[in-house]
């Protein structure tokens, strides 16, 4: 009865997800307050300070979430490509129209506040991807479809990296691999990609001569086990050649890199003498801050490492350091568990969708969140490369909070209508 007449916009909403979202956002706000704590401006709502601004971002994000819940769920499927195109245009325009801030060309400025369109490209791409892959006639295994899929992901990636030079914002698009895998991307591709990554790393770590010898002997051994006809011979030779040129290419690229780029790679590979006062500074300070937190932490607002600016970018990309230092292992583990729970919850919700569009969109949300979580926390504890991406719902910043909120609440909206239609 109620369903037919005027179903409440909160009807069928997944409250677990909303609750986790709220906890993360509020916890993030508290930690931003601790990270930039300033005795002269100790009021958490003081909008001259970052925590005051973040409060405004949170309030507006909640308003956005509310609006999304009001908007008809069919809006996204209907306008999927339009949304994608519009944000793509915005991203192309921003380097030319936006104002440069601290050398970054990815911002639109509105007075005191700034907006990064690249952040919103995530949900736009996700909608487009879901729309494309949910088409009944589409089989991802087809070469043509694979190509279009890669375009949907690759074009935003290249625009953000190429035009805006925002590595962190660009690399996130790699996360959609998970969606593609769920939707049928051949494991072989993933394996190939995985092997390629291994090869890149080995090329930097091991003398190339040894790698060449290793690849050639591997190919020779392979030939002993397969049918030795002309075709197989050709394939093995081609693989060997590609592998060898990848090794050589990696080394050459590395040799021609700028010193600071080389160092970044060295830091990650843990080789050479990394100067902890320069290149290794960020990661080392992050580890010190987190490590010094101990089991229970130093207490709220008692973290010396984050409060006294030893840790760089402690309110944005390195916000997890504040958690680690002030809340200790208990607090850090709690945040990780909360985030993982949210991601698993989204996957669970995705799987219960009748509509492929909703399912694919849900997987996209989970993938993006998971990628952010892995890289962001991984870099603070020295397990991932230093790539500047925010911790979802936690880090300071309006664009990222809005973007994650939109991303998540579109899915919550779609999920609340999972029983009604078959899209």
């Amino acid at each position: 009865m109620r369903q037919k007449n005027a179903p409440s916009i909160f009807h069928n909403i997944d409250w677990i997800t909303v609750l986790i979202y709220l906890v993360l956002v509020v916890a993030g706000w508290m930690n931003i307050y601790a990270a930039v704590y300033n005795e002269e401006h100790y009021i958490i709502t003081d909008t001259s300070q970052k925590y005051g601004k973040q409060m405004i971002w949170i309030i507006t994000a909640l308003m956005l979430a509310f609006i999304i819940l009001i908007i008809d769920e069919n809006f996204y499927t209907a306008f999927a490509y339009f949304i994608f195109g519009a944000f793509l245009l915005a991203n192309i325009a921003v380097p030319f129209l936006g104002r440069e801030i601290k050398g970054s060309r990815s911002w639109f400025r509105f007075g005191d506040f700034g907006i990064q369109p690249a952040e919103f490209m995530k949900f736009a791409t996700n909608i487009a991807l879901a729309k494309f892959l949910s088409n009944q006639n589409i089989k991802i295994a087809d070469y043509k479809n694979t190509f279009i899929t890669l375009l949907l992901i690759g074009v935003p990636l290249l625009i953000i990296k190429g035009l805006q030079d925002e590595t962190g914002l660009a690399i996130v698009f790699v996360a959609f691999i998970f969606t593609l895998y769920r939707e049928g991307l051949s494991v072989n591709y993933l394996l190939l990609g995985f092997l390629a990554i291994i090869l890149f790393i080995l090329a930097l770590l091991i003398n190339n001569i040894y790698l060449f010898i290793f690849i050639i002997s591997l190919c020779t051994i392979a030939l002993l086990f397969i049918k030795r006809n002309r075709k197989n011979l050709f394939i093995v030779a081609a693989i060997g050649l590609v592998a060898c040129s990848m090794v050589k290419g990696t080394s050459t690229v590395y040799e021609h890199m700028e010193p600071h780029q080389k160092v970044r790679i060295d830091v990650l590979l843990g080789r050479g003498t990394v100067d902890l006062k320069k290149e290794g500074y960020n990661v080392n300070q992050a580890k010190i801050a987190i490590g010094s937190g101990g089991f229970l932490g130093k207490g709220y607002l008692e973290g010396t490492q984050t409060k006294y600016d030893f840790v760089p970018e402690q309110d944005t990309d390195f916000i997890f350091c504040t958690v680690g230092e002030e809340w200790g292992f208990v607090g850090s583990a709690f945040v990780i568990i909360l985030q993982i729970t949210l991601i698993l919850r989204i996957i669970f919700m995705s799987e219960r969708q009748r509509s492929p569009f909703s399912r694919i969109y849900g997987y996209g949300v989970a993938s993006v969140l998971f990628f952010h979580l892995t890289i962001n926390i991984g870099m603070t504890i020295g397990l991932a490369p230093v790539i500047g991406i925010p911790l979802p719902f936690f880090s300071y910043g309006g664009s990222s909070l809005w973007s994650f909120t939109i991303l998540l609440f579109i899915f919550i909206k779609l999920d609340s209508h999972r029983l009604q239609i078959l899209r």
Partner: protein, 621 residues
């Protein structure tokens, strides 16, 4: 489709796996690995040591002997200087750029080096220090070091007080309390009472930010410790007496020690030549130390009162008399001949002309070498021991009970044992069983291998004055105002010698009183205060004999016992006697009735080749 939906397990698995890896990693760096906590502490904390105020030292009348003055030095470690705004810095310190360049050059060149901290600007005033300290964080490589300078208003008792200096590397390794650069007592009572004087360092944990700016104290000072100031010491020294004695002893080489026999408190202890203790304060010390150590004749750095060993000479004749009486081989009426020497050995040891034979009192009065050689022989050959070795051992034991050949155990930093030769020693020199009383006869007159410090000498007099007992001589009577501090307990133990019969002492004291009434010290009477004395010489194989004088006053309930030795000064009554007499009068009466004597003593110069003017003496001591 069904097949593909199985992939959700793999995806969920990967997500859970990453979560677990991260949680384990966090557990490792946060809970298991402690190195990050240490790093954080080193980075964000600055441990400011609060140095306690070192205890002052007062004399027995609560007059200040040692106090402190704070000094601040601006230090530089050139290697650590970075991004220095020279003009800004010069303005802050108040110097010109030229001066800055000159000073920096000095800090970098030998003997300094860029890696070595050196003083950039010495002894800032507390006001300069305060304004500098606030802004100095902007100039890495520069910092202020505060140090305690000891000040000596009376410029006396340098050897006894000792001095403080920077802790050596060995010290800092042995005792974790000290860090390199800390100050501690190096000699004198600064060393003996270091623990009481130093107090306890305090520690303030300050938080600093990435720019090394202080951001307040950690946990509101929960883990801070306050410095506990050092305790003041009350010395047994009478500052006025000490000052007077040093004045009398100027330009003479030797030592005077005065003890209150009833308590063992050292009233004054003088080593001469001495120096102004203010010379050993702060940076001037090295220079002055070098200068003083070049004086090879006076050796002002040599603490003679406890570190020099002299033959006890005539003083020991008093002990010899006590032992003779105690062993029953001597009576006050025993008479021995003297033929300008000890007749049985052909006049050796030699003696000077005097009536012969004499009884005990006469022998003490004339300090007859022959007489006490006879006494020594009678003690060693005493039939009741049947054995020279046993008799000698007994003699030596008694001497040892008078604190001879053994440390007195005083609280003066370094003390020599002195020497009373052992049986083993003589067996080695002469062969086992090949020596007897006559072989070592000069022990009876306090010569031969015997050695005694001026402190032991004075203690000996105190024992005679007390008639058989003593308290360990000491220089501190109260710590932090508390005379019952446990550190002082050992000075409250009464030690008895092996001779306790007061009648025996009376005989010897009678002789000492005679010496003052009409004997060798007859010219040194003190109006209204009868006292006992013994003049003497200590033979010096290297030159003129040392002048020795021991005395105590008054005869009844003695208040002061003095032992004095002046090197190469000849007769005991020439220099040693008058000085001891003046000191006793000063201490007991507070005024001097013999300004002529005082003047002669003050002006007498025995170091700088000036001929000593002899005081009228009737007889050779």
């Amino acid at each position: 489709m069904n097949q593909l939906s199985e992939r959700k397990y793999i995806i969920a698995g990967v997500i859970i796996l990453i979560g677990l890896i991260y949680i384990f990693r966090l557990f490792y760096i946060q809970v298991i690995d402690d190195s990050y906590k240490l790093d954080a502490r080193n980075q964000a904390f600055r441990y400011n040591t609060e140095f306690p105020v070192r205890g002052y030292i007062y004399d027995r009348n609560n007059k200040l002997l040692v106090y402190n003055e704070a000094a601040y030095d601006l230090m530089v470690l050139p290697k650590k200087i970075k991004n220095l705004d020279t003009m800004d810095f010069c303005n802050l310190v108040g110097i010109t750029k030229d001066v800055f360049i000159r000073k920096m050059k000095k800090a970098v060149q030998a003997p300094n080096s860029p890696r070595k901290q050196s003083i950039f600007e010495k002894q800032l005033s507390p006001k300069e220090y305060a304004s500098l300290q606030e802004r100095l964080y902007r100039f890495p490589g520069f910092y202020v070091q505060s140090r305690t300078l000891r000040k000596y208003p009376k410029r006396i008792a340098a050897h006894m007080l000792g001095y403080i200096g920077e802790a050596s590397k060995e010290t800092t390794e042995k005792d974790p309390y000290y860090n390199e650069g800390d100050y501690l007592g190096i000699s004198g009572i600064e060393k003996t009472y270091e623990k009481a004087l130093r107090g306890k360092k305090g520690m303030h944990i300050m938080m600093v930010d990435v720019h090394n700016r202080e951001k307040g104290s950690y946990m509101n000072g929960l883990y801070d410790t306050m410095a506990i100031p050092g305790k003041p010491l009350t010395s047994t020294i009478d500052g006025d007496l000490q000052e007077y004695a040093e004045l009398l002893m100027q330009n003479k080489i030797g030592s005077v020690v005065a003890i209150d026999p009833s308590t063992g408190e050292i009233l004054s202890i003088v080593t001469s030549p001495t120096y102004d203790p203010n010379l050993f304060v702060g940076r001037a010390r090295n220079k002055n130390y070098g200068l003083l150590s070049q004086d090879s004749i006076g050796k002002p750095l040599f603490n003679r009162s406890t570190m020099a060993s002299y033959p006890p000479g005539s003083t020991f004749k008093l002990i010899m008399a006590l032992i003779g009486l105690h062993e029953g081989v001597l009576t006050p009426n025993t008479r021995y001949p003297c033929a300008r020497g000890y007749p049985p050995l052909g006049g050796r040891p030699k003696c000077h002309p005097h009536p012969s034979p004499q009884d005990l009192v006469g022998a003490i009065g004339t300090s007859c070498n022959s007489y006490f050689s006879f006494v020594f022989k009678s003690v060693i050959d005493d039939k009741k021991y049947h054995d020279t070795y046993k008799a000698y051992a007994n003699w030596r034991d008694i001497a040892t009970s008078f604190c001879l050949g053994t440390k007195t155990g005083s609280d003066l930093a370094n003390e020599l044992r002195g020497n009373v030769p052992s049986i083993k020693y003589y067996d080695k020199v002469f062969g086992k069983g090949s020596w007897k009383a006559s072989t070592v006869i000069s022990l009876g007159i306090g010569q031969a291998e015997m050695g005694i410090t001026p402190l032991q000498n004075a203690n000996l007099v105190a024992i005679i004055a007390n008639k058989g007992w003593y308290y360990t001589p000491h220089i501190v009577k109260a710590i932090g105002g508390n005379p019952n501090d446990t550190l002082l307990d050992r000075f409250k133990v009464k030690h008895n010698t092996m001779i306790t019969d007061t009648n025996i002492y009376n005989e010897v004291i009678k002789g000492m009183a005679r010496a003052v009434e009409g004997g060798t010290a007859g010219a040194l009477k003190i109006e209204g205060i009868p006292y006992g004395a013994k003049t003497g010489t200590a033979q010096n194989p290297h030159g003129k004999d040392h002048s020795v004088f021991v005395c105590f006053a008054p005869l009844e309930n003695p208040k002061i016992a003095v032992g004095i030795l002046i090197e190469n000064a000849g007769f005991g009554s020439t220099w040693a006697g008058p000085i001891a007499r003046l000191m006793m009068e000063k201490y007991l009466k507070g005024k001097i009735t013999r300004p002529d004597l005082e003047k002669r003593m003050i002006e007498g110069d025995l170091i700088h080749k000036a001929k000593p003017k002899p005081v009228e003496t009737k007889k050779r001591p």
